[in-house]
């Protein structure tokens, strides 16, 4: 089966006073019904990838490589063609629903809006679809929810409304950018269930961007770890959490509560002038001379995972 999304050597550079290399030759593919979690620290380039796929990067961003979505290279399309796709074929769920939802419009109108924008139905039809969607999400009767304003419901509920608004046209690709950030634990589970339900039909692919490893572990099929603009490890969920291979992946898991919050010393390198060798070398316990000199490639390991490390070969 053809993948829904295929990213090949994607690089994004922001050209300000100094060139910031936010994303550096990232490649991965994502099939229908699959959830790929992109994890890593703030500033590692996760959200930049999401915005590159959606075509939402600012003008000073230089994008190279290929983003193939259902057989078409998105980077070769005009803005008009991309905007016809955005919200219909591929949709993004932003973090912080209190800011992503419009505070002065009712929830029902905001969920129905994509139907009207893409001319997929009349006002009545849009409203009916919004009600049906909430019903499917287990929010019934929908009449209780549609007339609400965002300030009248909790952050978790608003996040689910936002997911509804993004997915009412049944897109093939959904990108969720930190969808659980700032929610109470119970609310996090509700949002997770919603995301799993989306991909349940086997058609929709979900790119989950998160720094919450617990969420990734519970719902993702595969995990891609990013560090300083690069993917350093890409593995199946179980393999990753049972036997993380890259030293940075191991450090990340060690800093989780269940492993006693053991920190990784130091901080990420500057994206303006990344070190020539392995970008994690300065913080790595296993670092050797070769690590500082030559930049490692992302190569396949024996069990099918991809790792970018000289010592893991």
């Amino acid at each position: 089966m053809n993948p829904v999304l295929e990213i090949d050597a994607l690089s994004v550079t922001f050209c300000g006073k100094q060139a910031v290399h936010a994303v550096d030759r990232v490649s991965f593919s994502l099939g229908g019904g699959e959830i790929l979690a992109l994890v890593g620290e703030t500033g590692c380039g996760k959200s930049v990838i999401a915005h590159a796929v959606m075509g939402l990067l600012p003008g000073e961003a230089q994008v190279s490589g290929r983003i193939v979505f259902k057989g078409r290279d998105l980077l070769a399309l005009s803005e008009r063609e991309r905007s016809a796709m955005r919200g219909k074929d591929c949709a993004i769920v932003f973090q912080d629903p209190s800011r992503a939802l419009n505070p002065v419009h009712r929830i029902g109108r905001q969920i129905a809006e994509p139907v009207l924008i893409h001319g997929a139905g009349s006002r009545e039809e849009a409203h009916r679809r919004a009600a049906a969607l909430l019903e499917r999400m287990g929010l019934s009767p929908p009449g209780n929810y549609l007339p609400l304003y965002p300030c009248q419901s909790s952050g978790g509920m608003n996040q689910r409304f936002l997911i509804a608004a993004s997915t009412i046209l049944d897109p093939s690709l959904v990108i969720a950018d930190e969808p659980t950030k700032g929610l109470d634990p119970g609310r996090v589970r509700e949002v997770e269930d919603e995301l799993v339900r989306l991909t349940g039909g086997g058609r929709t692919a979900l790119l989950l961007i998160t720094h919450d490893l617990a969420v990734a572990r519970r719902i993702a099929d595969r995990i891609a770890v990013m560090y300083a603009g690069e993917i350093v490890e890409l593995a199946e969920n179980d393999a990753f959490f049972d036997r993380p291979s890259h030293p940075y992946s191991r450090g990340l898991l060690q800093s989780l509560p269940e492993h006693g919050f053991v920190p990784i010393p130091g901080s990420s390198p500057s994206p303006v002038s990344p070190p020539p060798g392995c970008r994690f070398q300065a913080r790595c316990r296993d670092g050797k001379a070769v690590c500082g000199g030559q930049h490692p490639d992302l190569v396949s390991a024996a069990d099918g995972r991809m790792v970018r490390c000289w010592q893991c070969r």
Partner: protein
Amino acid sequence: MSLSADRLARAYRNGFLPGSRRTVFRDLSLTIRPGETFGLMGNSGAGKSTLGRVIAGLEPPTAGRVCFHGRDTALMNRSEYRAFRRSVQVMFQDPSAAFNPKKTIGTSYMEVLDLIGTPRPAQKAVIAGILESVGLSGELLGRYPHQISGGQSQRLALGRILLLDPEYIVLDEPTSALDVSVQAQILHLLKELQSERGIGYLFISHDEAVVRFMASRVGRIEDGRLVIEGEA
């Protein structure tokens, strides 16, 4: 030498209707001793932050007393109250909002030292010492708040608090905005500083694992009441 809340209550006016009030918490008592961490949990909106603000003197209680060194803070004279406010500091969740965006970090630090009357020539050494204890280099002092990462600004915010040599710090979700790896660094730094300086913490978080890692005693605000674990 403890910091304590005695039958504390806080209510807000609800809308513009006279007489309608929403009680955040009531009859709430707790004591924090020097060098000890009290962990406070609760869902969003339960009143954790409000309690932190009341204990630090940023908001008055509607009823009850906040006592510092056994004295009711509401009955303190001017100089005692100043000493209380200086000794009990608050660190907030959002590290990017902690510093004035128009000033360099160094200027923000010097303002604090000016306020407490440290002579200018001595300031440099004081700041250098503090930066060392929070694990940062002096190079950051020339930068503006938007030029530093979340973990660094949370360290800097902590450093600025330490300039005042506080006895207690109310830590209001200090790591909620940070990545897991940076969170681990900050939690260890907080523990280290506590054992060096004997500071008492009121550690507020909705993350149970973090609270359990940090605190020796743990309480949860539920329906406006504080339930302390191990105490019926």
